[in-house]
């Protein structure tokens, strides 16, 4: 890592603090999120309330940028009618 690349941006440092604010004792991991994200996405698209089981998806998406990126791409596909 080059020295000029080392410094974290304000957004990156802010994201650490935000993640700590959202951290709970029991969380979905990425695998659990993937297992339930299709159900969560369809609920969101239909404006249906999120059930207790898949509420963990929403919290995981707030913490995990990779799963968030994949969820947003899934919503793009669903909104296109596929």
């Amino acid at each position: 890592m080059k020295s000029e690349d080392q410094r974290l941006t304000r957004e990156q440092v802010g994201s650490i603090v935000k993640m700590l604010g959202l951290t709970t004792d029991r969380e979905f991991n990425c695998g659990e999120c993937l297992q339930h994200v299709s159900e969560f996405a369809e609920s969101q698209l239909a404006h249906q309330p999120v059930g207790e089981v898949i509420a963990g998806v929403e919290q995981h998406l707030a913490l995990c940028p990779e799963c968030r990126e994949e969820y947003e791409a899934l919503m793009k596909i669903l909104k296109a009618g596929l």
């Binding site: 700590l20 159900e39 899934l74």
Partner: protein, 204 residues
């Protein structure tokens, strides 16, 4: 018959090999269409990439067929897997030359002011106090691997690559990061910074 009308799990398990082959081909086309939509407008993803992703995704979906629980449409479930496969591959390419030594060395500097500047969140007293407490917590509350994994994640290193470099499993790596966040949160709490302070400061 449209993709939403097909009983996919049954068709993909059909004893009739012609019926099964037709379902596999149809699913591959559905996945490819979805990937085209998801990656439209991205210059770094070619049609050949999409074809490869669709093929690899198809194999992954077939391998996990028993995990489909019917709580969403089958195609939505399969598209989620396809996106996971495709994004993982794209992220891996970007970071493929990073070594474990480089990751650990970078993590060793995590709490350094050169990485997290005093005014990283702003110059007011509350925020500089928060940054100082955060640096202290990172330095004293995390293991070298936790520091490396967390900083790697912040720099957008793919989670799969962090897992691979650390020589662990995905679930163990996720637990490592979860434990790291809980440890930092506890350290901040001990420094008088509560979850409510963080929520208020960032309008969470």
């Amino acid at each position: 018959m449209t993709p939403t009308e097909i009983n996919w799990p049954a068709a993909l398990r059909a004893a009739d090999s012609a019926e099964q082959a037709a379902a596999v081909n149809e699913l591959r086309a559905v996945l490819l269409n979805g990937l085209r939509i998801a990656f439209s407008g991205r210059g770094d993803v070619s049609e050949a990439h999409l074809e490869d992703f669709a093929q690899e995704s198809l194999l992954r979906v077939l391998d996990r067929l028993d995990q489909f629980q019917g709580r969403s449409r089958f195609t939505t479930w399969a598209q989620a897997i396809a996106l996971n496969v495709a994004f993982a591959e794209l992220r891996r390419k970007r970071w493929r030359d990073v070594s474990l030594d480089a990751l650990l060395a970078d993590g060793g500097r995590f709490a350094d002011p050169a990485v997290i500047a005093d005014d990283a969140l702003g110059a007011d007293e509350d925020r500089t106090r928060l940054v100082a407490a955060l640096r202290h917590a990172i330095e004293n509350g995390l293991t070298p691997k936790q520091r490396a994994a967390m900083l790697g994640e912040l720099r957008e290193m793919p989670f799969d690559q962090i897992v691979e470099l650390l020589g662990t499993s995905r679930s163990a790596a996720y637990k490592m990061l979860h434990d790291a966040r809980r440890a930092l949160k506890q350290r901040l709490h001990e420094a008088g910074i509560t979850g409510a302070d963080i929520h208020n400061a960032f309008n969470l």
